[in-house]
């Protein structure tokens, strides 16, 4: 028994150390920093109470970054979810070439975000293929390209993000579809239900758990959008998101205290959303 205790601890120790040093300590330390005026090149720092938080809520740069983050989340998730579901429905039944299509649709979502963002930087720029395409169908794109305009920069990044991530959520929907028993459809057919009836009475309700799961993980991920903004716009043209703001104040202007406070505000927003959505999951008795 004693030996087993020792071995248990020994084997668990890599996590115990990693958790304490690289997760718990930084997490608490940055919470503390959020209440200080810690900056680089300042020999001492002081406890400033809620000052950072108060200042953040009147800092238009921060508020804009929050606004952009919400636009990003609300503007991408419905499209990503619906398109992913459509792709999954198209590929649900077995037919020749199914695996090829599935792999191709999924491919962008395991490719490096940096690479995808670089490719689209070119495609969106003046003279790039997407620019020319928009021009050809008469959309009159902004003069200097999609990423260099206040009106289109953020939306262009969002469109790319939808394109990139639908394949991943398609796979989750496909797994969800697979778990629906075939007998339900057979019974519905016997009762004379058509394709639409089957979709709305069987498929959609039974996909609810996986759909909610997709929305939850996509929300949490989308609130933290950073890489594509960094590569494509550097936060210019009204496209800076909350994490971009945290990066810039923290690691470019080195205002560690202020940036930590901003990070905790975003943390709380994400926490509220994930709790609310998990609550929803439980309430519907789907867990």
């Amino acid at each position: 028994m004693k030996k087993s205790q020792l071995a248990g601890y020994l084997f668990a120790s890599p996590w115990v150390i990693t958790f304490l040093v690289f997760w718990l300590f930084p997490l608490l330390f940055s919470l503390y920093l959020g209440f200080t005026d810690y900056k680089l090149l300042k020999p001492t720092y002081n406890w400033v109470g809620l000052n950072n938080f108060v200042a953040l809520f009147s800092d238009s740069e921060f508020l804009d970054s929050l606004k952009n983050t919400f636009i990003f989340v609300i503007g991408t998730i419905p499209f990503t979810t619906v398109i992913a579901l459509v792709f999954a429905l198209l590929l649900n039944k077995n037919f020749p070439g199914r695996t090829l299509f599935r792999s191709a649709y999924f491919m962008p979502s395991i490719t490096s975000m940096v690479v995808i963002a670089l490719i689209f930087t070119n495609l969106y720029s003046r003279g790039g293929y997407l620019y020319m395409l928009a021009d050809m169908i008469g959309l009159s794109p902004p003069e200097n390209g999609f990423l260099l305009s206040n009106k289109t920069a953020l939306f262009s990044v969002m469109a790319m993000d939808i394109w990139m991530s639908v394949g991943y959520y398609m796979l989750l929907f496909l797994a969800g579809l697979k778990s629906i028993p075939e007998e339900l459809y057979e019974a519905a057919e016997v009762a004379g239900a058509g394709a639409f009836r089957k979709f709305f009475s069987i498929t959609l309700p039974l996909l609810k758990p996986v759909t909610l799961f997709i929305i939850v993980i996509n929300t949490i991920k989308s609130f933290q959008v950073f890489v594509e903004i960094f590569v494509m716009t550097k936060g210019r043209y009204d496209s800076a998101t909350a994490v971009y703001f945290i990066y810039e104040t923290g690691l470019s202007r080195f205002e560690f205290g202020y940036a930590s406070a901003a990070a905790y505000i975003l943390f709380l927003i994400i926490a509220v959303f994930s709790f609310a959505q998990f609550g929803l999951l439980k309430q519907r008795g789907m867990r």
């Binding site: 084997f11 690289f22 649709y105 491919m107 940096v114 670089l118 490719i119 989750l172 933290q224 690691l251």
Partner: protein, 267 residues
């Protein structure tokens, strides 16, 4: 009806793979200037740019750095996630539940919160801008532990007990008896960890500053900083980042997909 379905599927296919085809095409462009449609379909191809990035500049260095970090982190995760997952599944030591909850807790933490404190911690530890900064914090991950623990929970423990009765020590049981049984789960884990690490940008970006330890995604993202972007070179470097992923994907597609869907169904 059937023709219509295939037409739709092929159109989507084109939309989904065109950007990557474009990347490969541009990386093989003979002239750095022309990126018009004519150039895209023209048969003129050169691998000179690849020769160029392998013989000069930093792309090759970034590629090697990414490989070193990727292999080290993947190796660490195979070993440590396995050990920890086993401990949490089989041993009844004091605080076991607490450590299991800590895994779930970290699983739910949004990583953006770590940007500032991890940067400061790595700096204070004197690890800033070293390989260690890119490896040490990532040697074991909560998703991996969770995956392995769930897997070991489903295995019968009779073989381990039999081995103990035969006098085998704990290490022997762990590595000789249990580890071979966990091969399928460890394969899924290894592939996921490697791909995630290979593509990761945020932490390698904030924890390093010099070209000598920079990984490929960071090198590519900062390459843009030069005045006029040399697209053929940049896309050749991007291809270096994509080709290993493509190869792994083609070889281990089943593992990748089962890893992704297992996570979703569990929820």
């Amino acid at each position: 009806m059937r023709i219509l379905k295939y037409t739709i599927l092929v159109l989507i296919l084109i939309v989904m793979i065109f950007p990557l085809l474009w990347m490969f095409r541009v990386s093989l462009m003979p002239g750095a200037s022309g990126l018009g449609f004519g150039d895209f379909v023209s048969p003129a191809i050169t691998v000179l740019i690849y020769y160029d990035i392998f013989s000069s500049g930093n792309m090759l260095k970034y590629f090697i750095n990414s490989s070193i970090v990727g292999v080290a982190v993947t190796g660490g995760n195979i070993l440590f996630c396995f050990m920890v997952g086993y401990a949490l599944s089989r041993y009844r030591f004091i605080g076991r539940n607490l450590w299991f909850y800590s895994v779930i807790f970290v699983l739910m933490i949004p990583v953006h919160i770590m940007i500032i404190p991890l940067y400061l911690l790595i700096y204070k530890l004197g690890l800033y801008d070293t390989y260690a900064a890119l490896i040490l914090p990532f040697l074991v991950n909560p998703i991996g532990i969770f995956l392995i623990k769930q897997y070991i929970d489903t295995l019968p423990s009779s073989m381990e007990e039999a081995a103990r009765i035969d006098g085998a020590g704990e290490f022997r049981v762990l590595f000789r008896i249990v580890m071979p049984l966990c091969k399928p789960a460890l394969a899924v884990l290894a592939i996921q960890v490697f791909l995630t690490n290979w593509n990761s940008f945020l932490f390698p970006f904030i924890l390093t500053s010099s070209e000598s330890v920079r990984t490929l995604p960071v090198g590519l993202a900062l390459y843009q900083g030069h005045q006029a972007i040399d697209w053929p070179h940049l896309m050749a470097g991007s291809s270096l980042a994509v080709i290993p992923v493509l190869v792994i994907f083609l070889l281990f597609q089943r593992h990748i997909i089962s890893g992704i869907t297992a996570g979703a169904i569990k929820q």
